[in-house]
Symmetry: C4
Subunit: 348 residues, 4 copies
């Protein structure tokens, strides 16, 4: 394969692997979190307001469609469906890394379809920290323009880089590049892990660089080490390396407890139900992001995706009802019970 | 089916589902509680007094028959048996929700049988908080009169309402309706959850409204989400919703530890032996309520039910003996060892 | 069967049930205790002194043969073997309850054999607290004389009494009877539970009554509820009652931690190896008692029993070596690591 | 077999048993340790410096080849391969106990091959504490000279001695012999357990004796009780004894936390990946030692061994990258999350 065409084809690999194999590893910690039940909610279930604000935008609910795809013609349809549902429910949505389209403008359509279908949605462009460092604000600008994005996610995925065949192994200069970007960029910048979580220490670096928000991307959901293990082909050493790192990283709930309160936070990684979104918000997140649980229905049909989203929002609504939360803001006040390993990790 | 006849038929569904399928979910926490053994009890086992007082009434023991049924002709026999056993052992007993009979007076017999058979028992009428709000003190009055009740249970079941096909989704105004009722009502009012538990916060609301007692109805016994899952028919979305909420709520033991000491408390939800009743009382409950463990024998025969109750009372008596408790009051002083998840939930 | 011959036949039942069915229940907690390893023990393994003193007597080791049998002609041989091994290793040994022989002097031989075979051993006579109360110092005297005992164990077994067909259900007056006995009796009195453990509170009562030592008889080894379950015959209610109480009581390690330091203590109940004896001593016990693990070899042959005891003593010796304990006294200083449920029960 | 030829043949037994049977027992605790992830490592993965210093020597990485073999002609090839890989990667390496060669100089070649093949490696001679005590500085000198060693490991293996057929049971005088040796010896002396761990108390003794470093040899990896169980032949008593002690000792991570900070430490025992080495260093170890995981490939071929070492170093490198550690020194600052039993053992 032509080396410069590796990115797009990799994107297709990822979708297929995520749909057909077990790519989740570890525990995000949501099963260790129980919400205080309000036996007397004093609310009308149907009147509960899921709406929320994030970085100045009005969102229909705190369910965020986490960055997944684009960059290969065959992903256009998936992005179209995600976008249509984002528009319908006024969800925030991230696109997958735009690197492929920045390198090969003929692939842009797989991204631009998102804005076409979701003219009013809060959309997040997506670029790797390494690409930002190597190509600077110009690529960031182009990424945002490509989809008329409302925010730009800079993703951090060094666990994946270190365990994938064609990974980028030089992480130097990323922080400076992020700080440079944040200084002048007109669009808010979100720093986003992709499965290994953000510690309190890293959060301080990120806020110090001027980011507008953090997407935790904690451990316990889709594991990129697991995904890359499937792509190692005959390279047994690389495969074994990936397997060792399946359990690496900070579980989403632990990461959330470390970062909550320091700035706007999207909790992504192992969020698997509307109740999990409620748990995340009770623990201090602003939004709860989901990738894998939306991918399978999105590859099936728009209808399947819509039903899935509707079900998650229903669960969230019921969880809000049963915690006496009339609004997303109320949810942040709900008392939680934290047990098990998660509790132990929080009590260092 | 005529919509106005839905309630009675639903009642029958419930009994059959509870008898034939696994409707218990989660853990109530009793297995995490161990009682301090008194190697030298200094008591006569047969002389131990199980008698206790609750809301001014003399009860033969702290085993309470939790609200279950009535409202369909086929349930009359079950209620008759429960009532006869309540009378025999002087147990407190609740009837199931009287809504059906309030709407359809021809169904009253399935409730009145209880007072007929148990002229001296402490009986609790039963009405949903939503029905109270919608029909006011008049229905409360009629419910009490129907069985010459000694107390009125207002049940809170919003988890069930939110996950059942014909559920009531508007919970507004219930607290005010309860407060209104408590202000003037001549019969003591008990607020009762039905499987999701009462937190310390909710207990404060309830006492503030003027209730005379709380029945915790904690998680870990019969799960109404589980029951309703069986009734969703073809509605896959509703079924999935119910399944998500199987684990919802505050386990009975945790709920008990939060509420104990603030007023009269019945601990219901996952009480499965006389030892569990002793545990509940050692942790501060006034009575231990049981529904499911009595339902199966009650549907079989009066004799089966009587033997079951006798066995539970024997276990309670032995547990009192082995903790050196000559009376129910002594039991409240017994030291407990709390371990596991329950312990973690209590140490927030 | 003649009612007055019930005791001896029951004794035989017990041996057979203990040998042929699973009569252990729960966990004594020894698996939660780890001893600090001494990598540089500075000892000669073969020179380690297992000898210890207990109630003024010199014992060959802290392994105590807990009370088991006697009272039926068929048990004479078992007691003979236990006694010969006690004599050989200078172990302390208790005989089973002597009630049968006190009621039927023709059964005395099954006890007297013990002193015949073990002229120098530290022997403990055995009587139930109820028998002491009912028959007073005279029976105590006769029990001691029968085997020229060095101490008298008064056993507390109300869990068993409450769950066995012919159980004694009146426990009143036992404490006073014990105090009366201790006041004048020339032989030291040991209070002994038989599987449900002694709490700190009960220990205070026992010391207050003037006892010379406590045998904890904690939960987690032989469960008398389990044994009695096998003897309920057709009485399903009694069987069910016994099963409920299988897990009752204070685990031996927890009981030990509550009682240690307050007076001489034998830790019995679930001691299953020489390492367990070492653990018990490190936690503050003076002796570690075993019943069930010695019963099976004792019923086989003297040789089997001797090998079993030798193995336990070897394990104890090695554990002392690897903790740098040249003597039983040193063992009491060894640091322990306590984890799991046991740890949680200790941190109330 | 001639008694004086027992040592060499035993050495061969050990290798075969370790390769063909399950000789690991318990848990070293590494699975309870999670490292704080650095989402923004600001490093070049390939530029990370694995080099470190230990006792004045420059090592290519903190992976230490723990003492394994020598002393039988058939082990020469295994030692050759280990040595060649040590030379290639500049790893520290220990040889197995040299007792056999000190007693039978014709066996020296199985040791001298190591220095021949690894002229620049940091090599550790190896002698049992008992041999040191019995033969004094002369044997220590000869052991060092035999391989021109850079340090001398005195191993402590009393768990093994106590459970093996021909074990040395007298541990007296070892500490004095060590102190004597350390006083004048020109080569640094390392005290090394072999599977039961070093407590804080033992560490104090060791530092007091003047040792230069400690190799923890904690529990949870190769269990010598398990190895010796395989060698008991028909001796059932010895086999049973060994089995009782399978779980004996202080897990490596617990031992490490007790000893860290008090002097140079090698963490050996259950280290099974490069991530485990990183965990050990984050908890305060200077080197992470491995025996069993290197034995199987070393018995296969030099190539297999080289690939194994390369994989472990790669894992270590990636773990350093993902914790933002550019050097081994940085790794020591990485925050850890400790959970489970390990955490409980640390909080006494
Ligand atoms: C198929 C797939 C592709 C993804 N591609 C990207 C990407 O290009 N950029 C990015 O920042 N995150 C990407 N992610 C990571 C997700 O945004 C998210 O952080 C992660 O999957 C954890 O969420 P989950 O457990 O709900 O899947 C991808 C995830 C999936 C499943
Ligand atoms: C068949 C059945 C019907 C019930 N119906 C009512 C009801 O009408 N009103 C009410 O307050 N609780 C009702 N309950 C709830 C019980 O009173 C009790 O709170 C709950 O089942 C937990 O106790 P358990 O685990 O012992 O079953 C019902 C329970 C069962 C099993
Ligand atoms: C067969 C058998 C008979 C026993 N009989 C008596 C007895 O008569 N008196 C007594 O005090 N304890 C008796 N015990 C209890 C033991 O002394 C001991 O406290 C208990 O079994 C716990 O120890 P273990 O777990 O090692 O069996 C008996 C135990 C067994 C197994
Ligand atoms: C086959 C084999 C032979 C060993 N021989 C010795 C030895 O002679 N001297 C010594 O100090 N340790 C010896 N050890 C112990 C190791 O150095 C190490 O402390 C122990 O195996 C724990 O590490 P592991 O879990 O990685 O195997 C040996 C280990 C193995 C597996």
């Amino acid at each position: 394969m032509r080396k410069d065409m590796q990115t797009p084809s990799r994107k297709l690999d990822h979708l297929q692997i995520c749909c057909n194999t077990q790519v989740e590893a570890g525990r995000a910690g949501f099963e260790d979190v129980r919400l205080a039940h309000a036996a007397l909610p004093e609310l009308d279930l149907e009147g509960i307001r899921l709406q929320t604000r994030f970085l100045g935008a009005e969102l229909g609910s705190p369910l965020f469609i986490a960055a997944m795809t684009g960059g290969h013609p065959a992903t256009t349809e998936v992005n179209r469906r995600l976008a249509r549902v984002a528009e319908e429910f006024r969800l925030g949505m991230g696109v997958g890394s735009q690197r492929a389209a920045l390198e090969h403008p003929e692939l842009e359509e797989s991204f631009t379809v998102v804005r076409d279908e979701a003219p009013h949605a809060f959309l997040c462009a997506n670029l790797g920290a390494v690409q930002l460092r190597d190509h600077g604000a110009e690529w960031a600008e182009r990424a945002v323009e490509m989809i008329e994005a409302d925010a730009l996610c800079i993703h951090l995925n060094f666990l994946q880089e270190a365990t994938q065949p064609e990974g980028d192994h030089d992480a130097r200069g990323c922080l400076a590049a992020i700080a440079d970007l944040c200084r002048d960029f007109r669009t808010p910048v979100i720093l986003k892990e992709t499965g290994a979580g953000i510690t309190a220490e890293t959060a301080r670096l990120i806020w110090g660089a001027g980011a507008a928000a953090i997407d935790l991307g904690g451990a316990g959901g889709t594991s990129w080490a697991a995904v890359e293990v499937e792509r190692t082909g005959g390279d047994e050493a690389l495969k074994a390396l990936g397997q060792r790192f399946l359990g690496w990283g900070i579980p989403t709930v632990v990461s959330l407890c470390e970062v909550a309160g320091s700035g706007p936070v999207i909790a992504t990684g192992g969020v698997r139900s509307g109740i999990d979104i409620a748990r995340a918000l009770a623990l201090g997140a602003d939004l709860g992001g989901m990738a894998l649980p939306l991918l399978k229905p999105a590859m099936e049909s728009e209808d399947a995706l819509e039903q899935t989203v509707r079900a998650f929002l229903r669960e969230l609504r019921v969880a809000m009802f049963l915690t006496g939360s009339g609004s997303v803001r109320d949810l942040a006040q709900v008392r939680t019970y934290i047990t098990g390993t998660t509790r132990q990790m929080l009590c260092e």
